[in-house]
Amino acid sequence: MSATTDLAPPPRTDAAIGPWRLRWRRFRRHRTGMASLVILALLVLFALAAVPMQHLLGIDPDATDLLSRFDPPSAAHWLGTDDAGRDELIRLMVGGQISLLVGLVATAIGGVIGLLIGVTAGYFGGRLDALLMRITDGMIALPLLPLLIVLGAVDLTKLGFSSDFAHSTAASFWRIIIIISIVDWTSIARLVRAATLSIKDRDYVRAARASGAGASYVMPAHVLPNVATPIIVALTLTVGRVILFESVLSFLGFGITPPTPSWGNMLNNAQELVTTAPGLAVYPGLLIFITVIAVNFLGDGLQAAFDPRSEQ
């Protein structure tokens, strides 16, 4: 009968919902943030669609065909062909994979560098802190783009790599990730340092230290969970910046080496082609633009969802 169900305690209406559920609820109300999330998901699908599309249409994105350069859009080539007779649409998809991957991986590595430096400076303090913060300030003061160009121009064979490796796509992929991540960690480092400073003298951290906990316990257990939200926002914005850096470097010829496409290097000779084939100059840039603006709006939405003060 229903007697047993009557005895069961009523569902708790005052039960606290988890902080992440609460944030998700707030984020869903942020229109531009949600729209950005959808757009980014579509962009990722677009990039991933390269693989089935290649098989379906039997197109090799790197195969040149000098007899069909600058073909207009057709049933076989939906967006036409580029200056080497390659399918523009497929190359945009493959280039999207490269550009997005560079954005994510370089952000992740730069984030880890920033995290380590910020945590070290904030937790240990003193002279180490002063030194690390001077280095960070110095990095912030540098003109980044010229520096990235110099780093991009470094001849890997002079560092002892084989000539084959130095000119491979893999080398150019990892090189651009490394050079961007070693210059773009400063904002994360400052953020993490400030957060670490505010948390490390809380009594619960001191209690843990009295039990013998060192930085390797306190950081993951107490500090990072309490600073996760601003870091997520900052990392989101970094992804956008990194994608821009990648496109600039590849465009200038210091990034991903052709024939492997990236949205940046597809614009490589767009300047000469702008009169003959304007489409080739428009599409890749438009995709970069849409991606980065969506990433930035996403960061804005996350900020609003994470910051209780933004509730008006």
């Binding site: 809380r202 001191r206 209690a207 843990a208 009295a210 039990s211 013998g212 906990a213």
Partner: protein
């Protein structure tokens, strides 16, 4: 009773900077100066003083949160060096004043209580869960507290959680840094009774830090009085309350309101404690002392037995 922990002329100085390449005067804060005392197994020692007297700093030294600038610590007769501390960490735990800042808001109570065991290793998740359940009941909280978060509890309940955490590794000594002063008066006695009960059951020692002599009276065996980082008097509770030897202790006792007793006149101390950045020469208490004479301005008094009472020590040229 056997000695549990001992401090041998411990000093703590903080370098506040200055004096570097870009100038300014070098400033050194003397939070504790040549302090020695010992705590026996099962004993409760109160560390009493005004704010800025260095009592919390000494509590941190005992809890291993602050390395002394000078002097040594002994634990069970062995020196507390890097190796010694590794074992002592389990045996010495700390409870803080502010029950709101003492618990990580993102951890459930079961994880908070079992945290010392996790840090010290050598236990399985299941053992830690069982231990947390056992402790929650020992400190008088319902079992369903385990899966809740700190913000769902009142100040007194949180202090119980903090005590349960301190008990987790079965310690011998708990440093209680003003554990009652952030609580309502009605709650204070409950927590105090809990601490007493736990001591009787588990044979704990306490280093009980307080600015309030009245609270101390209910719990402690001996009292140590600090002034400006110096130990000015240390004595068994009854003797100290009955016949304080140091004029500062006398003044502190006179400030405690007691029913049925008139406030003695003339013993209320004037002025404020000087800055520990620039302590006065001679006896540090002399600018505020009713008994101050020329010798007090030049000579630092040493800790010695009060006349006729071997276990009551005070640092005064005119000890009573």
């Amino acid at each position: 009773m056997s000695e549990l922990i001992a401090l041998e002329s411990v000093s703590v100085h903080f370098d506040l900077g200055g004096g570097g390449l870009f100038g300014g005067r070098r400033r050194i804060l003397r939070a504790a100066e040549q302090v020695s005392f010992a705590i026996a197994a099962g004993e409760t020692l109160a560390l009493v003083g005004e704010s800025g007297s260095g009592k919390s700093t000494l509590g941190n030294v005992v809890a291993g949160l602050q390395a002394p600038s000078d002097g040594r610590l002994r634990f069970h007769g062995a020196p507390l060096d890097a190796v010694g501390w590794r074992q002592a960490r389990r045996a010495i735990q700390i409870v803080f004043q502010d029950p709101f800042g003492a618990l990580d808001p993102r951890m459930p109570v079961s994880a908070i209580i079992a945290e010392p065991l996790l840090i010290q290793g050598g236990s399985t998740a299941r053992q830690r869960r069982d231990r947390a359940a056992e402790l929650v009941e020992q400190v008088g909280l319902p079992r369903d507290a385990l899966n809740r978060y700190p913000h769902e509890f009142s100040g007194g309940q949180r202090q119980r959680i903090a005590i349960a955490r301190a008990l987790a590794p079965a310690p011998e000594l708990i440093v209680a840094d003003e554990p009652l002063s952030a609580l309502d008066v009605s709650i204070q006695s409950q927590v105090l009774n809990l601490m007493k009960e736990l001591q009787e059951r588990l044979g704990l020692s306490y280093l009980f830090i307080s600015h309030d002599l009245a609270v101390v009276n209910h719990l402690v065996d001996r009292v140590a009085v600090l002034y400006l980082g110096r130990l000015v008097e240390i004595a068994p509770r009854e003797e100290l309350f009955a016949r304080p030897s140091h004029p500062y202790t006398q003044a502190l006792l006179d400030a405690v309101p007691r029913i049925g007793r008139r406030r003695a006149r003339g013993h209320v101390i004037k002025g404020e404690m000087p800055s520990p950045l620039a302590p006065p020469p001679g006896c540090v208490f002399h600018p505020r002392c009713p008994k101050a004479a020329d010798i007090c301005r030049t000579d630092i008094p040493t800790l010695g037995a009060a006349p006729g009472r071997a276990d009551q020590l005070s640092a005064c040229h005119f000890r009573e």
